[in-house]
Assembly symmetry: C2
Homo-oligomer: 420 residues x 2
């Protein structure tokens, strides 16, 4: 799409974001219920569209232009469809993240400050093959009262188009729901357009592989919520329980090796007595072990694990703070003092003790819905729920109060916190 | 400074940030007390250095290269010195923003999730003439356990150098306080260096004029906390109390016209009966009124006020959402329904009712210390206290828990919130 056309879309999204910002919870939840029902009602046309995409994808797999795993992510089946629909209903049942009072303070007689959660504005979502993302993100946006411009992968073009039109119909049927809250764009140019519109787009959320996320982070001034890499570590301390170590490391590497929260590097204390058994159990679980990796920065996303012996807890912490992507890192130890040092000193979104790194996930944390996992050091970190799509504003209500009275000493501030 | 030298500084700051992150409150507070005492002890050398800067600045004022107001901001006097010292003591008395438990949740038997506040990492501070900023920012950084690289204005070179050396001496005298937490850089190149080191610097905070902030926002991928413009509005509604309107508008324009929270645009409902008197009282307060401004985007920072009549509350809201910098906007009305609509619909960090926009300030909000005022839509918005220099991490403690058990149904999540 040409840039000026895109700017028109972005402007309309901005205008829509002001309208949805003040929408009552009931209308947003009604919209979500309508979306869920409409997807259920039109699931056959969605499957049909998906079959078209799959047929095209299959020929690309055969010619080697598409990976089998992308093909699998593209495929909708009855289970994914049921999860999609249930996911939207779950989001409608969550507490409204907007309008929560975060602070109430009496600055002085008749001068009340209130900090209230509110939406961010316009989100730009860029995602790859998975067509279930479109309904999930749309539902999160509606609930958190943000407008969204979505750009899906070309592999799921037909599926995305049908799902989006089903969602738009549901929104049109919802009384009082504003236009232009959701807009889908299609062309490769639109990624570039999106990344340059910092005037209208407040937050970019990429959902996809490392290279997509890295490209986006490198090419925009808009804040980006997400993570490029998931280089997670497990440190097996001297005093680690060998059974726990084995269970956790095998789970963290093999339970779903392509997940971002899978372990990529195993650090073993040189005085841990059961190192051979631990490595043997990994081999038995068909994990390829690498003791001289080309780079400690590599994310394998496969049943491959780099490992290294370290001389001390401190060396493990230093290695992790150097090479971790700041996603999730775990210590296995029976020494609670060491666990405490590790969890305080390791600078990652998740710091774990005697737990598999695979727990780093919004649903497992009990957030109900997940926007993604962030390795940012500002705004939102770790698994991000609906809260990550909110910010706050300060409301100040007075009776004609002016600053001069406080500067010249006629009045003084009281700063008394009130119950929220 | 050459880029590789700067990278060395940035690396050392990163390493220092890991050390200060886990420092007990007592050491941080002791460091702050030592800084305050040392500044008091060496105030004469600080004044001497300041006199050198002032002498050089005076010749620049005479040749027209520096404004008189920059000269005034540069000047340290007994009052500013006392405020500087008291400011540091005040920060030492605030609650530690680090290590606060924000959430505790039992995910399952023996599997406890804790969300804990922690520092961001390395801050890059770029500030202009005011030399009191250096002690304030240093104190905020120490309290919030962040490392800082500071780049001051060349006008205050001598003052900054002496203050920084006094602060560094105080930190050296503080037992257990790590090296390299604070680093000062001097050259213009170092601004460029700072903005490009997104690997080591986590947040940039500019403290200075619009053009500095705008330049920084345009030239870095690092998150920037601050505001370029302060284009604040007051809307005088049909039912506004004329006395309140007059007091508030005059205060918001004249109490400190160059402040970012001063009003720049006055919108008056066409049916407000006391418009002539309101405009007359502004003229009497020596405010220049402009009814056909070249741009509604202009920040005058002076006793100049653009104004316009509007037909409705909706028109006022639309104008503000189009032209406001998202800083602070106020409605004067006796109609509480209109106030509510305005405060919900105006998308700014501060939305006020019957109050002067000049209240937008961390100290007036009772935050104790202020990092600055943010018009960002993510991380921190409005006046930012110490909290804006923190993020959080998730700690997960278990007993050997693995994800496979929850996927295959052996175990199920309980998600029970615990008291914090």
């Amino acid at each position: 799409m040409e840039e000026d056309k895109f700017i028109e879309i972005a402007k309309r999204a901005k205008a829509a974001s002001k309208k949805i910002a003040t929408l009552p919870s009931e209308i947003k939840n009604k919209a979500l219920q309508n979306i869920a029902e409409n997807i259920k009602k039109h699931s056959e046309s969605i499957f049909d569209a998906n079959k078209k995409d799959l047929a095209e994808a299959l020929s690309l797999v055969e010619s080697g232009e598409l990976t089998k795993s992308t093909y699998n992510r593209l495929k909708l089946d009855e289970n994914k469809m049921r999860d999609m629909i249930q996911g939207i209903i779950d989001i409608s049942n969550l507490q409204d993240p907007i309008g929560r009072v975060l602070l109430r303070r009496q600055l002085d007689e008749g001068l009340i400050l209130t900090k209230v959660s509110c939406p961010i504005g316009v989100l730009g979502i860029i995602f790859e093959a998975r067509p279930d993302v479109i309904s999930q993100i749309s539902a999160l946006a509606v609930k958190s009262a943000n407008a969204v411009i979505l750009k899906g992968g070309k592999e799921s073009f037909n599926t995305n188009t049908v799902i989006m039109s089903v969602i738009q119909d549901a929104l049109k049927q919802t009384e009082g729901f504003p236009e232009n809250v959701l807009t889908q764009v299609f062309s490769r140019d639109d990624v570039k357009n999106m990344l340059s519109q910092d005037k209208y787009i407040d937050l970019i959320i990429p959902r996809g592989g490392n290279s997509l996320v890295r490209f986006i982070k490198e090419n925009t001034k808009i804040p980006v919520l997400g993570h490029a890499d998931g280089i997670c570590h497990i440190f097996v301390d001297k005093s680690a329980d060998p059974q726990k170590a084995k269970r956790i490391v095998v789970d963290a590497k093999t339970q779903y090796p392509s997940a971002c929260n899978s372990v990529e590097t195993l650090l073993i204390h040189k005085d841990f007595k059961y190192a051979d058994e631990l490595l043997q159990s990994l081999r038995e679980a068909e994990v390829e072990l690498i003791d001289t990796p080309q780079s400690w920065h590599k994310e394998y996303s496969d049943k491959i694990l780099a490992y290294k012996f370290v001389n001390s807890l401190e060396e493990a912490i230093e290695h992790i703070n150097e090479y971790s992507s700041g996603h999730t890192d775990s210590i296995i130890t029976e020494d609670s003092a060491n666990a405490k040092i590790f969890m305080n000193a390791v600078d990652s979104a998740g710091v774990y003790h005697n737990v598999s790194t695979r727990f780093a996930d919004g649903f497992r944390y009990g957030f109900g819905a997940e926007v993604g996992i962030s390795t940012n050091k500002t705004h939102a970190r770790g698994p991000v729920g609906l809260d990550g799509l909110t910010i706050y504003k300060y409301k100040l209500e007075g009776e004609g109060n002016i600053v001069r009275d406080y500067v010249d000493g006629t009045k003084t501030f009281k700063h008394k916190d009130l119950s929220v």
